[in-house]
Symmetry: C2
């Protein structure tokens, strides 16, 4: 299983520094939506986010204007861009095709969508499907149960990622469960007093 670490709500300089410190230590480094909406893709294009070993995901959260946003997004160093499952099927198909042509990855954020909509997307077989608990949601979130239920309903979906307050113990359980392709951790690593040693602990936990 892969570990993705999200960097959020910091200055662009701090995001760059954190990305390079984590490069090679974790599998995927995410620039969260706050980084996109605070500084913009033009700044992300110019900034040095070229990573040696880790993949770079930019959490664009495209929900319309798929062609414009994905073309712009892939002009950065991003290997993976995100689109909302709540978009129209037109947006989903457009972004998927752009990702395929660019030989890049696409991550579909499943926040707040129902099973019927997921069924309409299962033909996008190379996409990463992200189970995502809204940061603003008040209900509890059991990642292991959520993954199992999703996998039972959609066994044809190969790449599942999961995000939403995952701690070390949950990461370990998700790895043991053996279904998810990627677990996403945010402030519990990027906001830790020692992000490097914390990232290493998470990597060990999911082996």
């Amino acid at each position: 299983m892969k570990l993705q670490v999200a960097i959020d709500r910091v200055s662009l300089e701090d995001a760059i520094e954190m990305a390079h410190r984590l490069d090679g230590l974790v599998d995927v480094i995410e620039l969260g939506t706050s980084i996109v909406k605070d500084y913009g893709l033009e700044a992300l294009k110019k900034a040095d986010f070229k990573l040696e070993k880790s993949q770079l995901l930019i959490d664009l959260k495209t929900i319309d204007e798929g062609e414009y946003e994905f073309n712009k997004g892939y002009e950065t160093s991003a290997d993976i861009l995100t689109v909302m499952g709540a978009s129209s099927l037109g947006t989903l198909h457009t972004t998927y095709e752009i990702a395929q042509k660019a030989e890049k990855n696409i991550f579909i954020d499943l926040m707040e969508i129902d099973d019927q909509k997921v069924n309409d997307m299962t033909n996008m077989s190379n996409a990463i499907f992200g189970l995502h608990h809204s940061k603003d949601a008040t209900e509890a979130f059991d990642a292991v149960d959520t993954i199992q239920a999703f996998h039972d309903n959609h066994p044809e979906i190969k790449k599942i990622a999961v995000a939403g307050g995952v701690d070390l113990e949950q990461a370990r359980k998700i790895a043991r469960q053996g279904i998810a392709d990627t677990v996403i951790v945010g402030s519990k690593i990027a906001g830790a007093s020692d992000p490097i040693s914390t990232a290493k602990k998470f990597m060990e936990a999911i082996q």
Copy 2:
């Protein structure tokens, strides 16, 4: 009825210039999502978007992290920020409360959501509810019929805005219909060879 003009996919300098040229000529000037995602809220805070007469709407398209995005968004000159109806109810309530406390407006983008979800939002009575045809959707969109059907289903919603390829003739029909509070026009004004005279024609058409 009000006229809102969306500025999209131009440089920040051109967006600033266009906003000031349209200030006072139209009711609401929108900085589209492309301006946010290309240049970021930090740049929009520093740029001179202080308008004399028109209101400024920033099409943030918040879909999570409502508190962070709306607090940041209102640090700009924005009078109105947008949230996706497809967000969790947690995000919708958080952004609505921040807007109310800041004595600013909130625009809920209804793209790709069903009637049941709209019913969950009707208590946000000061919000502007935006009927929005996805730019990536392939089906035709009849604004007048869409407004009528929405009004029949949700007569308690007072402020309706409508967007999606509206031309001069459609704007006239929407005004005559007398339901919508705001009609939104994008490239047909901001991308016209003479945006000022085109904006004036739209304003006359909706009187």
